[in-house]
Amino acid sequence: MVVASHREYSKVATRFPVQLHLTPPSKISRHIRATARASTRRITTRTTTARIYPPRVAHRRIPHTAKPPHPRQRGGRPIEKAQDGKLRGRKRANDPAPPLDSDIERVFIWDLDETIIIFHSLLTGTFSSRFGKDSSRAVSLGLWMEEMIFNLADSRLFFNDLEECDQVHIDDVASDDNGQDLSGANSLCLGSGVHGGVDWMRKLAFRYRRVKEIYNTYKNNVGGLLGSPKREEWLQLRREMEVLTDLWLTQALKALALINSRPNCVNVLVTTTQLIPALSKVLLYGLGSAFPIENIYSATKTGKESCFERISQRFGRRAVYVVIGDGAEEETVAKKKNMPFWRVSCRADLEALSHALELDYL
């Protein structure tokens, strides 16, 4: 399996990503396909995604008062704050669940791929050529991880159902949730039933609620979610990846932990992966403890600028926003919004970040 795909990959890598959709999809990495599709979708169909969804999804929402309580912020912020935030009358239509935490002074907005985790570049060969690593080893580890990511997404996070119903944030459909246990419900299959019907929306909302519950339950216990023997495979994969990437993830986790240890700082994730696979990645890379699920945003539907805007609406003008990434998109948006940008192009950049945090320079 690996060898054949590898040969395919050397062909694909040089033509990635523009012409990817012209190549027969069967042999191409599902992840690359999803990302390419997502990016073309973003470019060409952003305004028409409504035709995939029931039109109500596009409407603004007033936060649903009967939803489950928001997990406490660090420092034990009481729920009153959430109510308070709503009473302020601000239109937090795009950000229904998390309260505006105006005590936060620093918001670190992280990119996921190639900043915190090394994944995509393993598949495309970029990582191995840049850092002089065994390329076939890199690709095989990449494929292995990819399989685990989509396996988890499909089996435990309803990705089969939700793949066509992309959301930016886990709580975006929450107001359609009536709190019922719909676990007996049929899959959402878009081919049948009434699109946009109340029932359909409820099922959708229920799915996302379940995803949230699963994330919160297993974020510090991914092994429990995977069960044996997957758990052991996963641990081995993680070990081997750390060796290949010179402890890249370990370094990133250090910086994330430093930030989380401060009561007035938060970590936020903005990724161009679709939300469900992004959550799967976060879990499998052991980042669940670094990012509360409410702090994860997928930019596939609306682009990074829109996500950054949402985030700055959420935490307010008093906070300082630091953007951490490797790519041109986040850098451009950061400059545009006058947010300081910390570039991560090698592991040393992550070390320097930890260093700056330790010394209280950031």
Binding site: R106, A352, H355, A356, Y361
Partner: protein, 284 residues
């Protein structure tokens, strides 16, 4: 963007830290960070670093240092507003200290005139106006047709510009006055250039006393002291025509005017030729 191994941060990262701490208002930490930087020239010429140093200097009341930084490096336009604010605020504070009480609008204006923004933090172009460009355009357009709007017209203008009628009235009054002053200065300049500086003759009796004292104003910088030039004048030498106006201020009104008058005729005959008789009229 070089990595300094013993130090650990790239220049880009240093700039990022400077930005973060400035935006957060954490100036103590920023000062500490700047102090910890290695003495690398290239690093210290980085614009974010310089901006940070300026902010820290201001925060510490170290205004000499602040001015030095602002004047000695060319800053890019997107940083100009913030740095201009630092420059002005620092000068206001110093002026207030001298005066012993807070500065009003006029006082601040005088400070801005006395300490104009250095070109390193100003492109020499933008002035910030109180009224929006659109409003000012409407007023200017109207003025060219009629510089004396009636009360009703003023009300209409107020509505069109989003200003009050008082503001509109004041705008027109000031505009007329400034046009008059500009016109007077215009004539004066052309006369200076032609008549060889019989500036004195253009003053009406009412203005006389005041303008004679004008050398004390900042605006009209008095370049010479009275004595030497008046001596020249009385001896009939016209080698420094433009100087002749000022020295007379020290000498009392009637005598020198008379003396100048006589001179004017001689001047006219000898130097002017075709120049208008209006000059002679002014002298009489």
């Amino acid at each position: 963007m070089s990595i300094l191994p013993s130090f650990g941060f790239t220049q880009e990262q240093v700039a990022c830290v400077c930005e973060v701490l400035q935006q957060g208002g954490n100036l103590e930490r920023l000062g500490r960070f700047l102090w910890s930087l290695p003495a690398c020239d290239h690093l210290h010429k980085n614009e974010s670093v310089l901006k940070a140093k300026a902010v820290v200097a201001f925060h510490r009341g170290n205004f000499r240092e602040l001015y030095k930084i602002l004047e000695s490096h060319q800053f890019s336009p997107h940083n100009h507003p913030k740095l201009q604010q630092l420059w002005l605020k620092a000068h206001y504070v110093e002026a207030e200290k001298l005066r012993g009480r807070p500065l009003g609008a006029v006082g601040k204006y005088r400070v801005r005139r006395k300490f104009p923004l250095p070109r390193t933090i100003w492109d020499g172009e933008e002035t910030s106006y109180c009224f929006k460009e659109k409003s000012r355009g409407v007023l200017r357009e109207w003025y060219t047709h009629n510089p004396y709007p009636s009360p009703r017209e003023k009300r209409e203008l107020a509505e069109a510009t989003g200003l009050t009628t008082t503001q509109v009235s004041n705008w027109f009054k000031n505009r007329r006055q400034r046009d008059r002053a500009a016109e007077a200065k215009e004539r004066e300049n052309s006369e200076n250039n032609g008549a060889g500086g019989n500036k004195q003759n253009q003053l009406s009796p009412l203005d006389g006393g005041k303008s004679l004292m004008s050398s004390s104003e900042d605006e009209f910088s008095p370049p010479q002291s009275p004595e030497p030039n008046s001596a020249l004048l009385l001896q009939g030498s016209m080698s420094h025509p433009s100087a002749s106006a000022y020295p007379l201020s020290g000498l009392g009104a009637p005598q020198p005017v008379h003396g100048m008058h006589g001179h004017a005729h001689q001047l006219q005959d000898s130097l002017l030729g075709p120049l208008t008789s209006s000059l002679v009229d002014l002298g009489s």
